[in-house]
Structures are given as C-alpha cells and as structure tokens.
Symmetry: C2
Subunit: 334 residues, 2 copies
C-alpha cells in the first residue's frame, strides 16, 4: 500500500507538504495541492491518521463532551455538530460526562488530558469551577453550546427571554394564575432550568402577579412531568389557568395529565412550552422555538474560526427563541 512518502515523491514535494495538502490544514498553494491530490489518487493512497498527525501536529478530530446523549436537546445538537464535522472531513470523539458520576471524573482527569483532538465542543456541560479550569488548561480551542458563560466562546440561548416571553404571552391572553412546571425535580438541578424559572418569575413580578407565582417541581422528562402535573392539577380550587413549562416534553406531560383529569386544553388550562420538539405540533403546543441542530453547526463554525486564528478572542453568539402560537393557549375560562 502506498505511503505518504510515495505520494510526496510522485508529486515532487516534501512529505510534510504532501501531508498539509491532503489534510487541508496549513498553507499549500493550489497548484501544489492539485499535484499532491493527483499523486494520491494515482497511488490509491489513504492517509494514515497517525502519519498525518505527526506531519501536521493535527489530529483532525474534534472532541465533544456532553452530559447526556439520550435527551432530545443534546442528541439534536450532537447531530448538528456531527453533520458539520463530516462536511469538513473531521472526526468526532465523544465523551459522555453525566453530572456526579465516576465516569465524568475520569473524562476530566484522564481522557481530556490525552488531547486526542484539535478542539473541543462542550454541549450543555455546566462544568464546576474545577472542571472548567481543567478544560481551559488543555490549551486547545473550546466552544460551548450553552452551559458555560463568559470565559470561552459560547453559542448562547437566552433562556431568561424564552420563559419571560412565554409568561408574557399568557399574561397577554388575560391569565393571572400561571404556574411554572418543571425543574428542581431531581438531585441535580441544571442551571438552564433555574434560568428559565427566573425568566418566568421576573415576568410575573413585573406584571404585579408575584402572589400567583407557583412552581410545580418535576424532573426533565415527559413521565416525570406527567406524574407531577397529575398531582398538582387534581384540586380544582388551587389549579392554575396557565402553565409555562421548562421544555416541550414537560409541557406535553402536563397536557396528557390534564386530558387524563378531564381538564380541557386550552378551555380550562393553557400550556406553553420551550423547544418546538417533534411532539409540539401533534399536541398543538404553543412554544418558544429553538433549533439545537443549528446551534451545533454554529459551534463547529465558531471552533473552525478559532482553529484558523488562535489569537481570536472568545465570542458569544446569541440565538433567540421565537414564539410559535398554536392552539394550546387561549384566554382563561370566565
């Protein structure tokens, strides 16, 4: 099988030039690149990554670290990242890091230090201070999709804004008794859920509805929110007329619970979510739309910009959720 040395010899260039030309990294003139590509094709050469790494100092792989691969938001971002990396010819090395697990400690203490990647993308990671220090100490470009603020480049979603807008939508329809469903249901309470609760709380306070603030705690899954809503909505005297849910899956859990209890949506109860999940349309769910795949693709683009220019300062790209009104929200009952 042909090696890089054969390709370089046939193209009449040095091995490192041939490596640069084939890896697409570092400067090579268009003419030289063409010569090398023709030589590689002639010889049926497939670059060995190890050889390319040695010649270029690059692994041509991007590390992705995330706490969950089985949840909607995380899986969608991962797919967006993967698609863009494939387009760029880059590999994706995945590190699963669930909060509070021994596996997460091992990822931070051992796996990341091996530095099998040119850059890192953190998806909704919410690292502790010590963990963030570790990430920064690796010394390669890092972009976070939400989950980190300030010190690194971030694709940010304005969570405050999303629930504030959702709450204001219900207030605008005439609701006063509006509860927040989701968050604070498990041992680990992610920052994103806290910020969404704060957006709701701020909107209620601003509208003079502080006395109506109510938080129905539930873990971030459809079954958990269903169970919490069945408990919370059972008593007609204390039942809110509106629900702002921490996510669409949680909103759908609330709607299914309402149906089970004979509560009409939106006749008796309006429900608004966040995400525009694939279930949203089926439940006619009013929601704040975000597109995690686009966040993943944007993270790759930003990371490539950092790889191309190591001096580029950290940048935050804000993505704003957009209100989609369907028929799960209406004026409150008389």
């Amino acid at each position: 099988m042909a090696g890089i040395a054969d390709v370089a010899a046939l193209a009449g260039v040095s091995k490192s030039t041939a490596s640069r030309a084939l890896s697409g990294r570092g400067h090579v003139s268009a003419t030289t690149r063409a010569k090398v590509v023709v030589a590689a094709e002639t010889l049926g050469y497939v670059p060995s990554t190890t050889a390319v790494s040695l010649a270029t100092g690059h692994t041509n792989s991007i590390g992705v670290i995330m706490p969950y691969v089985t949840r909607w938001f995380f899986a969608e971002v991962l797919e967006g990242v993967q698609q863009r990396l494939l387009e760029e010819g880059l590999d994706l090395t995945l590190y699963d890091a669930k909060p509070g697990t021994a596996a997460r400690a091992r990822v931070f203490d051992d796996f990341l230090a091996r530095k099998r990647f040119d850059g890192l993308i953190a998806i909704g990671l919410e690292p502790e201070d010590r963990e963030l220090e570790r990430l920064l100490a690796i010394g390669c470009p890092l972009v976070s999709v939400v989950g980190i603020a300030g010190s690194v480049s971030v694709i940010a979603v304005d969570d405050d804004y999303a629930t504030r807008r959702a709450t204001e939508h219900l207030i605008g329809l005439g609701h006063e008794s509006i509860a927040f469903l989701g968050g604070g249901g498990g041992e680990h309470w992610p920052q994103v859920e806290r910020r969404r609760l704060e957006g709701y709380t701020a909107a209620m306070e601003d509208a003079g509805l502080a006395a109506h603030i109510s938080h129905i705690r539930a873990a971030a899954s459809l079954p958990a929110s269903y169970n919490a809503a069945v408990d919370a909505l059972g008593d007609v005297r204390s039942r809110p007329t509106g629900i702002v849910a921490v996510s669409d899956e949680v909103a759908v859990g609330g709607i299914i619970a309402a149906r089970r209890l004979g509560i009409r949506v939106p006749g008796d109860l309006s429900v608004v979510g966040i995400d525009d999940h694939e279930y949203a349309e089926m439940f006619s769910l009013t929601t704040l739309r975000q597109v995690p795949r686009e966040q993943g693709a944007a993270a790759v683009d930003l990371l490539l910009a950092h790889l191309a220019d190591p001096e580029k300062p950290p940048q935050t790209i804000h993505m704003k959720a957009r209100l989609i009104v369907r028929s799960s929200t209406a004026a409150p009952p008389e």
Copy 2:
C-alpha cells in the same frame, strides 16, 4: 512537559516498553509496568496519543457507526457503548450514517478508510452489500448491534420472536381482529420493521387468523403513528380490537390517538408495544422488553474479545425480549 522518552529513561526501559506499559496493550511484566507507572506519575506524564499509537500500533479508540443518534434505541445503545468504553479507557469516535445521504457515502468511502480506530461497532446499520464489503475490507474487528446478520459478530435481538409473542399475547386474550401499527411509512423501510411485521403475520397465520391481517403503515415516530392511528381507527366498523405496534413510541402514538377518538384502552382496544421505553409505564403499556444499553455493553465486551484474540471466529449473541404485561391489554369487548 515530560515526554515518553523521559519516562522510559527514569524507569530504565525502552520507549516502546514504556508505551506498552502505559497503554495497557501488549505484554509487559507487572514489575516493569509498576516501574513505568511510578516514573510517569513522578514526572506528571500524560501520554500523547500520537506517540502511543506509533509505539503500539493501537489508536485506543473504537469507531461507532450508526444511522441515527436522536432516536431512542440508537441513543440508548450508544450510551451503553460509551459507558463500557470509558471503563476500559478507550475513546469513542462517532460516525453518523443516515441511509441515502451523501454524508453516509463519505463515511464509507473516506472516513472509515482512515482507520482511526482499533475496532468498529455498527449500531442498527443495515449496510447495503457494497457497504458491508467496505466494512469487512477495513480489516479490523467489527461487532454489530443488530442490523447485520451472519458474516460478523452480532448482538442480535430476535425481532420475529418479539412481535410473535406480542401477537400471541393478544390472541390468548381472545382477540381475532388484530392490526400491526408501524413500518413502511417512509421512503426507507428498515429491515427491523419488516422482520417485526413478519413475526406478527406468522403468528396470525398460525392461529388461523390470516383473514384478519391488517397493516397500518406509519413512520417510526410517535407523531407519525398518532396521525396514522387517528386515520385508521376513526371508522368503528373496520376498527381492530387489538394493535401490535412496531415499537413503544408507535404504540403510545396509537394510545394517544385512541384517547382523542374516545376509544377506551384496553376496554375497546388493546395495545402492545416493543421496547419498554421510558414512556411505557406512564401509559401502562404491555410490551416486550429489550435493554439497548445492555446490548451496547455486550457489543464492547465482544469486540474486546476479538481484539484480544484476532483468530476468534464471528459470534452471534442472542438477546430475547421479555413480555411485560401492564394494563393496555385485556380481553376484547363483547
């Protein structure tokens, strides 16, 4: 920063011995390994993967190729694979290969040939003949979690058995008019769905119920099956008394459709799924339980066995789904 040469010098061994000792691959005596580990710890040495690869010929990474990361089964298997790999100190390089996409062609034609991994795990891949040839031509150990039969090592789920058992469960309760929900709803019709349909068909034929065989086509998602079921269950004259669904998500789509149409489950309609998805309990769904995380972990173990013994012949490990009876199934209405 200390390099492998420093560690080797301090331990009084060769560089390649030091690499083998630290990578955990290849033979090194316990005494030598201990000397090298102490030297590495003394110097604060973290192995560079490129250097280890050169010394050992191993990448310490496992490639995982799968068509979907956002679907329940695939994401759960991936999580099982990732957890076991982390325990073994191995990296996971992810290749997303959706059927019929240019990205999938690129993965097969380019990414896999780079061989950035010691072994490959294919999850529900269902490769075409040409793609399977490519996979085998790579020449490294390959284990498939379902999706490939025969020529390679496979963690197999008996799909025939699962739907046969589900159908027989309904027949045993006295149902005759039993429809199969799901499969054949999109352009791409996965083998797994066809096999599940065959298991249902065989059970119906064996019970002399061939005249009642009915297939409600729907793509493999909750919203798609909801829409298909709303259409199919609307007419009381042609309505079945039992549904065998291709998966739990599809079964839940059917149950939500039934509720919307005022059809009682199980009073008017019994529904049985396959998976034991996290939604199953919430909908009191009778189902055939499979545990994709365990399939993922088993795939890693089988792959490690192949890595340890390159002469080991392909092996198929069968995992059987188990019937979990909840309250979505009962005798048919009088």
